[in-house]
Symmetry: C2
Subunit: 351 residues, 2 copies
């Protein structure tokens, strides 16, 4: 093992770590945290109080904000979290933040050794001035594609670290599955309507395991609900974390017909880990994650999606698993972060 570090992991407070249901960022924070503990580092996790971890837990909010049942002042809780981290910057060799630009001024004012993993889309011009102002804060992208909108901003990239999944939690299913799977959020940019159209055209079963955020309720009621009343479409709703490997592993393919600059797309590697190929539209990170023709198909139109489903049984499910072992395991991800920590933590700044 490399030098033992005192590491703070700063999670969003929307979901617990790890999340009970949906929640990509908090899931990744959990994976990183537990693996760092396993490797002997001294880790403090800043996260909601209902989180479960072998690290020291510091909880600025007693329960995760999203499932707490009433609208919360998210900002107040995250300010409190950052205050508790950055008022004692010398307690940590590295502070690893997963909450975006809100952490930048804290990091600079405290003169702390900080690393920021950006988990969201970056094509939001309103945020460019704040990224330009804090261009010396070391950033990690979760795909190369994610960086594109920042071209010319002069920010400091410490590296790209792909997400990873725990291989034991997503066991390999060698048998070819029967249905198409759609997993994630119902929202216009995820294009559940395309997945539904695809299933109906091919006469193949589609199972949709997805949450509906309040902001997407109108879209769901108006555009998606009317499409669900069909013998081939099975809308399951939001599913628990522990049934996901089964849901994914028994699918013939994961359909990921997105229409937005996907920063990473965790569900793709979850499916691949189970041996299930991925049919995805080539936005954002997709061409980096899916090896076209080897672990699935990178497509564009509905016609191409149809052709991909017809060809998908030629994909070797074992190869899907192997690619996750090679490129998308938690160990591989934490190797990436550990190496960045070692370089960043050597450069504590003066405030």
């Amino acid at each position: 093992m490399s030098r033992r570090l005192r590491i703070a992991q700063v999670s969003p407070l929307y979901e617990r770590v790890p999340p009970a249901l949906y929640g990509g960022t908090e899931r990744i924070v959990g994976y990183i945290t537990e693996e760092l503990v396993k490797r002997g580092h001294d880790v403090t996790l800043f996260a909601s109080g209902d989180s479960r971890t072998k690290a020291k837990l510091v909880a600025p909010a007693p329960r995760a904000l999203r499932l707490d049942g009433h609208p919360r002042d998210d900002l107040a809780f995250h300010l409190l979290e950052l205050a508790r981290v950055f008022e004692h910057p010398r307690d940590f060799d590295i502070i690893h933040c997963h909450i975006g630009h809100l952490a930048f001024p804290f990091s600079r004012l405290a003169g702390a050794s900080t690393l920021h993993t950006l988990h969201g889309r970056l094509d939001l011009p309103d945020t460019f001035p704040v990224f330009r102002h804090f261009r010396d804060e070391p950033l990690v992208s979760i795909s190369h594609a994610q960086r594109r909108p920042f071209k010319g901003l002069g920010v400091t990239w410490a590296g790209t670290v792909y997400h990873g999944v725990p291989l034991a939690k997503y066991p390999f299913s060698p048998a070819r599955g029967t249905y198409l799977a759609f997993l994630g959020r119902i929202s216009p940019e995820k294009r559940p309507d395309l997945a539904i159209a695809l299933a109906k055209r091919l006469g193949i079963m589609l199972k949709i395991a997805a949450k509906v955020d309040p902001v997407d309720q109108v879209y769901f009621d108006r555009d998606i609900k009317p499409l669900l009343d069909h013998p081939l479409i099975d809308f399951i709703g939001e599913i628990r974390d522990d049934v996901k490997p089964d849901f994914l592993g028994r699918a013939r393919a994961l359909v990921f017909p997105i229409d937005w600059p996907e920063p990473f797309g965790l569900v793709m590697i979850e499916a691949l880990a189970c041996g299930t190929p991925v049919i995805a539209r080539g936005c954002g990170s997709v061409p980096e994650v899916v090896l076209d023709g080897r672990t699935g198909f990178v497509v564009d139109t509905l016609e191409e999606m149809e052709a991909a489903v017809k060809a998908v049984d030629r994909i070797d499910r074992a190869e899907c698993r192997r690619d996750v072992v090679r490129r998308f395991s938690v160990e591989r991800m934490v190797d990436g972060y550990e190496s960045i920590y070692q370089s960043v933590s050597g450069h504590a700044r003066s405030a």
Copy 2:
């Protein structure tokens, strides 16, 4: 004049300073800023780039966010603003923030001499932990009533400073007006429906000059719009700042039938400055601002509001004006702040 100070005024960026239309906080920031310049202080105003001021202007956003025509990442712009203020804390003897708890961690991490005027309601339990954590930040309340929810939190009150209006901009109208006036926002807690019911019961004209925020559009369409089609009700919409004194001065009374803990209620002193009495329900700051029976009436029920309108011509309009000169002028407000600045700026903290 007291000691010359280098003062930063940190405004919200939602409206320009001063606002073209609605915008209580930015209006007050403008009044304070110009009066401090007049008194010879070295003032830097942090505000949107379309602001107008005799102070030095630093603009983290080129235009005010609310009227800029598309949804903005408010947080990104305010972070940038605070970064620009607090990265050079020694440039100022006092940093006077008007943007709430977002500024607390900046102030503490920078070890700056800071004063925070709280402009909003404080009965929001989600914010209590952050106020408790930063209980050494000096706070100014804008009424005594505003403080009530913080009882037991242990925060540091530097004083209460009532808002003020520029007497020259709100000239005295000695003649008794004809209609009831409602001025502000259309929202459930402002109870425009009560003002409308009152006018209809008494057979007296009601003029409503009010904006409708996107968040209140459904309430307006469903609950208020159906009430407007009546010969006694004149809905004018949002009015420009420069026509407000005329609108208020020609009214018989301002009706302020609020149903929330009003932190101050700027429109009440704008009306009083013009000589127009105020009929207001006794929530929040109202009993501090309206001298019951002398500058208007503090009421509760619709019946009491009716009785108050019938009695309102007994109120001496000159006394309304006098009370503003005495307690609610800009000069009086800035006297209050200047005295607090002198004490707070002597106590710069170590970071």
